[in-house]
Amino acid sequence: MKKLFLFALAVTALFSSCEKDPDLNKLSSDYAVYTNYDNSIQFNKFSSYYLPDSILIAGSGMKAQYWKDENAQKIIHEVVTEMDDRGYTRVDDKDKADIGLQLSYAQSTTQIISPGYGYGYYGWWGAGFWGPFWNDWYYPYPVSYSYDTGTFVAEMVDLTAKPADESKKVDLPVIWHAYASGLMYNNSRIDMQLTLRAVGQAFEQSPYLNILYTDK
């Protein structure tokens, strides 16, 4: 019986290689855009946000590196435009911001597994960037994914969740995140165009990111 089972498995493995792959050239060049959020949060209670003037490049080593050139500024400007259109105001002082936005770009495949808590990757945004009272940061909802090379990531953190007693550190919640991935064309103009379109799509499919949103 065992031999028969092994034979059946071997035959299955042999013939499963006969699967006909679909024509992937039919697929659009636009990036796939994924978003998720903490549905216990009312995003219309926030009014101000802080957005750094650089994009973190993940996978460039243990030490974080930042992308600040003209292309990076175009992406940041697109995020600012989308946030402003939704009624939020950008502030220069992160202590006065209700929410923080951190943008990252995965230079190599980056594995992140977080079943609610924990964060297993060095060279990413540190919670300490947002203030001394943040111990670590976490997703209030389960996530488990891998960012492929060339993935653009945007994360929103709730800066109003800081402790009353600032000497006690607490974890910083990521209340919204988006990522966009697709084929890289090694052409900065096309890649930039696709990234900017993906940023727009991330906000379009997140209608709750609006100070006038009243669906709850």
Binding site: S16, K20, P22, S29, N39
Partner: protein, 210 residues
């Protein structure tokens, strides 16, 4: 001496008779064994997952006629169907959204036992009805530009079939085979926004029999 000669003679005759029986038995086994190798066209039905009809599949079957009309055997076939889904926003959960286009692919590989019953006694055309029972391995995938999400469930498989063996030269073993089939498998898949509780197919096969 006579006795010894008699025993030898008797043994030789017995051996000759046995060998004749053996040869006859071998010939009978060969006559009763039959094989089909087919190309097949398959259309998944009652699903919106990879339901585009396609000809990317084959069928292999071996049978043995336990009576002049009734055959028992084994089969294995495989097939792939695809479907392109235009760019859209998929609501993966109450909080998760994914905007992308997709190439959906449904691969199925059923195998198991088959039985058939011949209808009529024409030397050129030998129609039959049959049924197949077995297991099915499936691999249902959603291809995007850089990732593939997939599910590979197993299930039970049943498939009634109506077919015909066509022998242009009745004395020869080689002929043509055509068949129409319906199949149902219990494989369950939950993939992105797609949920399948069982897989139904309609199709036909064209091939050779020998």
């Amino acid at each position: 001496m006579k006795t010894i000669r008699y025993i030898f003679k008797k043994q030789i005759i017995l051996l000759m008779m046995l060998s004749v029986f053996c040869l006859k038995g071998q010939a009978q086994v060969e006559d009763k064994l039959h094989f089909n190798v087919d190309w097949q066209m398959n259309a998944p039905i009652s699903t919106d997952f990879a339901d585009k009809i396609s000809g990317w599949g084959m069928n292999f079957e071996a049978g043995y006629y336990v009576t002049p009309r009734w055959s028992l055997g084994a089969f294995l076939s495989f097939h792939t169907n695809h479907k392109y889904v235009d760019r859209q926003t998929l609501q993966l959960s109450p909080t998760e959204s994914l905007t992308t286009d997709q190439q959906l692919s449904a691969f199925q590989l059923p195998f198991g036992l088959s039985t058939s019953y011949r209808l009529g006694q024409n030397d050129y055309l030998k129609p039959y009805v049959g049924v197949r029972l077995g297991a099915m391995y499936a691999e249902n995938s959603s291809y995007m530009t850089t990732v593939r999400y997939y599910s590979n469930p197993w299930g039970f498989y049943v498939s009634p079939e109506l077919g015909m063996n066509i022998y242009p030269v009745p004395d020869k073993r080689l002929g043509f085979h055509v068949a129409l089939y319906y199949s149902y498998a219990t494989n369950q898949t939950d993939l992105l926004i797609y949920s399948m509780n069982g897989q139904n197919n309609l199709g036909f096969r064209v091939g050779i029999c020998f």
